[in-house]
Symmetry: D2
Subunit: 136 residues, 4 copies
């Protein structure tokens, strides 16, 4: 059930401390969630236009373990777990190869997204393909 | 006709080189244009919702003179000049006090925005308040 | 002990959903922490250069209550609470006036920052001015 | 001599207008320049640490032709042309497949970067590998 996505750290992601700015880890996490969805055959654009709903983040929790740096190639994993009828909790970990066959954890956390109407922002039941992908 | 807006440099604006990331100067320039509009009594949200048009950037040119750094308080000026029936060229300068009564120019450039329909993105004539503010 | 800072939502902060992008709330929270520090007479630049330490975020938790939108004027509060010898936990709330004398909570959360050496990123005891500001 | 790099548009890149925020095209352009350098066998981190210089942007000019949208897969090209002893002018084009075998130009422009000392920010002669890659 784990999906992972590879990404690169560019100047745009770093800050004056020489490491990735703390808010930007959330961008990397979102890329992995978007690509997980795409791997299931769906784009967020299409979900909004054809089905009238979007995934809205309602809660985020992140622990920063080691700084990611310019030029790092990082891997962002996500494990989606349906929670209730209208939301998904993603467990997400960002790692970097340690150059010796292992991985160094840079950040890990959880992101809960709610399935909401694209206009009213009211909750809507999760689409079936999410539940199916979770083996239910 | 010159309008200026004060802003502060935060960590989010800097990159690993210890200075403001080059794309972020465009954010500061946009803040000044938005505040110029607000000073005329209009918000972009309102223009889009009530009048159905937005200002879309069609051309940007920036010269970077000196780096802006963390904690700098900068001043962004804009001088709007209508160009044709449906666009405005903003001349914009970003400065920082040199601590001796003068200003250091950090960046300067021009941003041309077109007045376009919020949905079709087709050109629309500039609203009157822009021409009026320019004394025409 | 509560400090608060006012900020404006610009185009740069929004995403295609028409609301502030979820990672950008962390930028607003960081601005308030930086201004809290400045109100105590210190800049982060100075702390790094003169004292050799920086504040590194080690943990973030945010609940998103209502979306912030373009042109919103928001207020970001922070209540710093020292935790252990080398870190501070900031409780932070982002609100918007509801236009009727009250405030709407848009997001709230906690950010734990560690005081670390600017080069080695190893933990360092909190400076006295933080403890003093907390009345200890 | 043309180098190109493929990238994807995520929520983080869009703004409330439903298209990519104008400053973010500069991020995509910078990714292509960084990958061009990497294709030559060099990283910016390494250049800064081992050789003590960085590439600083001194001038940007961009024409925005068509908006890039969420989920678009875009291609960013760069053609580096040495200019003087200490700078490179990159001609850059961002395109998207039109789905019929052709490409739609979304933005095009030029970015001039100077080779500067990583600490003093003073100009330094371009490294040989840049001239060599340009066939001189």
């Amino acid at each position: 059930m784990e999906f992972s996505w590879r990404s690169r750290v560019y100047w745009e992601d770093t800050d004056g401390g020489g490491v990735v700015y703390y808010a930007n880890y959330l961008k990397f996490m979102e890329r992995a969630r978007t690509e997980w969805l795409r791997a299931l055959g769906h784009s967020q654009q299409e979900l909004a236009e054809q089905f009238g709903f979007v995934f809205a983040v309602v809660e985020v929790q992140v622990n920063y373990r080691r700084p990611a740096r310019l030029d790092d190639e990082i891997v962002i994993s996500c494990v989606p777990v349906p929670e209730g009828r209208a939301s998904i909790r993603f467990r997400q970990v960002i790692t970097r190869s340690d150059g010796a066959g292992g991985d160094t954890t840079l950040a890990e956390g959880e992101v809960r997204v709610a399935c909401v109407d694209a206009k009213s922002f009211r909750p809507r039941p999760l689409p079936d393909f999410v539940k199916v992908s979770h083996g239910k």
